[in-house]
């Protein structure tokens, strides 16, 4: 019998960390400023050091390359480190140890690297080029990694549990704009969201919007605005690698019209892969060209009018749906 509690997206992340740390003494968290009363730049780990002590809540120097590499070594010894990079943008400082070392190890000599990197991503909050990025495509392009991106508090917890239990390096993209603005029901205790399974966030008959992260909220807003004339089905991917192709193709075949949306820049983004795959796999079911919505091919600009021009939202998704439906 499961009970649920209502919490914010970031509380759900904390709940997920706490659940796993209580369950498994090999789970630890590490990163910059995450310990003590401070509890991290976004307070995701607040209170964890009081409960689990500094051995399991490890404040690191500002040395991503060293501590991500060290997490790989800890993983090889059977620990399950959960790394917080302070902003997803700073993940690039640890790039070699992620894409070259951790990602290839099991393929080369069959040793598992079971770490998770929590990467606070996404913008819309006037944080400029280096605190707003959505770098998921780099990692989806890397064999050996798994990549997840929760859009709801329930999945923020559920995917985190699954990521920690997974025996592979998993990059877990958090959406900063959801941290405190989104509340939802979260199952208490131990309920993992399986990696690789998408969720139908909203059912519809006429057009499918495939998206993830904060854009799920934008897509649902767009869908609400177009109802009841246009029945929009919104797929929340939850997992970007592996992709739930079954759910994607079933919906594409059902509606025959597909929009793919993400906040990351559109060029060579995750949406390009999905669009190509749907185009090839569900070709004879499609009634319109697949439409992609994404950020512009520029560094994320700081100033509000520029960031708003850069970043897609419900209006852009609405326009794309209209275009697709009108085709």
């Amino acid at each position: 019998m499961d009970s649920t509690r209502t919490m914010t997206y970031i509380e759900a992340i904390r709940d997920g960390l706490r659940t796993e740390m209580r369950r498994d003494p090999d789970v630890l968290v590490m990163g910059e400023d995450i310990g003590g009363e401070f509890g991290g730049a976004f307070k995701a780990t607040k209170g964890l050091e009081a409960e689990f002590g500094p051995r399991r809540v490890m404040n690191t120097p500002m040395t991503e390359l060293a501590f991500i590499g060290a997490a790989t070594g800890m993983g090889l010894m059977g620990l399950r480190p959960v790394i917080e990079v302070q902003f997803a943008d700073f993940i690039s400082t640890g790039f070699d140890s992620i894409v070259q070392y951790a990602a290839t190890t099991h393929y080369r000599w069959q040793a598992a690297v079971p770490w998770v990197i929590r990467a606070p991503a996404d913008g819309g909050i006037r944080s400029g080029p280096f605190h707003s990025q959505n770098p998921e495509a780099w990692f989806v392009h890397t064999p050996g990694l798994k990549v997840v991106a929760p859009a709801t508090p329930a999945d923020a917890k559920g995917l985190l549990l699954a990521a920690i239990r997974d025996n592979n390096p998993v990059i877990y993209f958090e959406s900063k704009p959801l941290y405190r603005s989104l509340r939802g029901e979260v199952p208490a205790g131990d309920r993992a969201t399986p990696i690789g399974r998408a969720r139908i966030a909203r059912e519809g008959q006429h057009v499918t919007v495939i998206t993830y992260g904060e854009m799920v909220r934008q897509a649902v807003l767009a869908a609400d605005g177009l109802a009841p004339e246009v029945g929009v089905e919104v797929i929340d991917l939850r997992s970007l690698k592996p992709l739930d192709r079954d759910t994607i193709m079933a919906s594409a075949r059902k509606t025959g019209r597909v929009v793919v949306a993400h906040a990351a820049n559109r060029l060579a983004g995750v949406g390009a892969e999905i669009a190509a795959d749907v185009g090839q796999t569900a070709f004879e079911y499609l009634d319109a060209p697949i439409c992609r919505v994404g950020g512009l091919d520029v560094p994320v600009p700081f100033s509000p009018p520029l960031e708003d021009a850069y970043r897609p939202g419900a209006d852009d998704i609405t326009a794309a749906i209209r275009e697709t439906v009108a085709y």
Binding site: G36, P61, M62, F90, S92, R126, P129, P301, F302, L306
Partner: protein, 322 residues
């Protein structure tokens, strides 16, 4: 103890006062909800950033960081452009592309802009120094890093490369005791950051970062040595970050006693006392300078707030050089 020419000491004071005034104004703007994005607190760093900037010749290149407002000012970046950048306006240094002090580079002022990733600016500044060697130009490049940044691999790689190249390069560590919320002893197992230099064959100095004349004298000597072909120097300047990491941060994790100790050694007030006790200036002069700085900063705010926002239609402009 360094004793500088009187007019230089007086000049250093002016730039520190201007830096302090602008920083105070930024804090006020953000508290009043007039800020855009975030802003990095400068209080405590004025002596280091001003003195290091002043110790350079006009042709030298400097890459200031997020606590070096003073250095930007000294090097000729106007309060108007800086304020407009803080407020995301089209008239700011980055035309709204980047925020606060990020990206405030201008090669016409021999200023290189930084990125957030710390300390990625250090090898870039080193590259400027290497280009001076390459072209046999008698110029020097200087950059700053934090105590936290001195832990990173690229810090050590850069020092090593600078040493091998005998580059005309000066690095100032602004040891302000904290990297965001993390105190020194959780960042490193040494007390003396200058020792980081010796493992790379680089000379080092340690200075009181709240004594503007001492910082000036030490940086000036390192710059002169670099210009004469004597290679790089690492200078550790000790200070205290007197406010939070950035405007949102109340810094409750900093012990009050530590702040009190450093508050008594405020770099600006220390220097004002020095100037008055030497009889170089009087209280009336200091009040006049403070008033002048307030006027300059008020004008910068007025300019920035009445400036246009960037045109969203230009969002893709400028990604590539022509």
């Amino acid at each position: 103890m360094t004793r500088l020419p009187d007019d230089l000491s007086i000049d250093l004071h002016y730039w520190m006062r201007l830096t302090r005034t602008m920083d105070d104004q930024l804090v006020t703007l953000w508290k009043q909800g007039r800020g855009v994005g975030t802003t990095f607190n400068q209080r405590g760093h004025e002596a280091i950033s001003v003195a290091a900037g002043m110790a350079l010749a006009p042709d030298d290149v400097v890459a200031p960081m997020h606590r070096d407002l003073g250095c930007y000012l000294v090097r000729g970046m106007t309060p108007r452009r800086l304020m407009a950048n803080q407020l995301g306006r089209a008239t700011g240094v980055t035309r709204g592309r980047d925020g606060n002090l990020h990206g405030c580079g201008d090669l016409s002022l021999n200023l290189i802009g930084f990125i957030s990733h710390l300390p990625q600016t250090m090898p870039v500044a080193l590259g400027a120094a290497m280009s001076f060697s390459y072209r046999s130009e008698p110029r020097v490049a200087l950059t700053f890093v934090g105590d936290g940044s001195s832990c990173a691999g690229v810090f050590h790689e850069s020092l090593n490369l600078a040493a091998v190249q005998r580059a005309p390069f000066v690095v100032v560590i602004e040891n302000n005791q904290y990297a965001y919320s993390t105190p020194l002893h959780q960042q490193m197992a040494i007390d003396d950051l200058a020792v980081r230099a010796s493992g790379h064959g680089v000379e080092s100095r340690t200075v009181d970062g709240n004594d503007v004349e001492e910082v000036y004298g030490t940086v000036e000597a390192a710059v002169a040595k670099a210009r004469e072909g004597g290679g790089p120097t690492l200078i550790e300047a000790r200070t205290m970050r007197m406010l939070g990491h950035a405007i949102h941060d109340g810094a409750e994790y900093v012990p009050q006693a530590l702040l009190d100790e450093w508050e008594a050694r405020d770099p600006l007030l220390l220097h004002e006392e020095k100037l008055t006790s030497r009889g170089l200036v009087d209280r009336e002069y200091l009040a006049r300078v403070a008033e002048k700085c307030r006027e300059i900063v008020a004008d910068a705010v007025e300019f920035a707030e009445s400036s246009e926002w960037p045109d969203p239609g230009t969002v893709t402009d400028g990604v590539y050089a022509a």
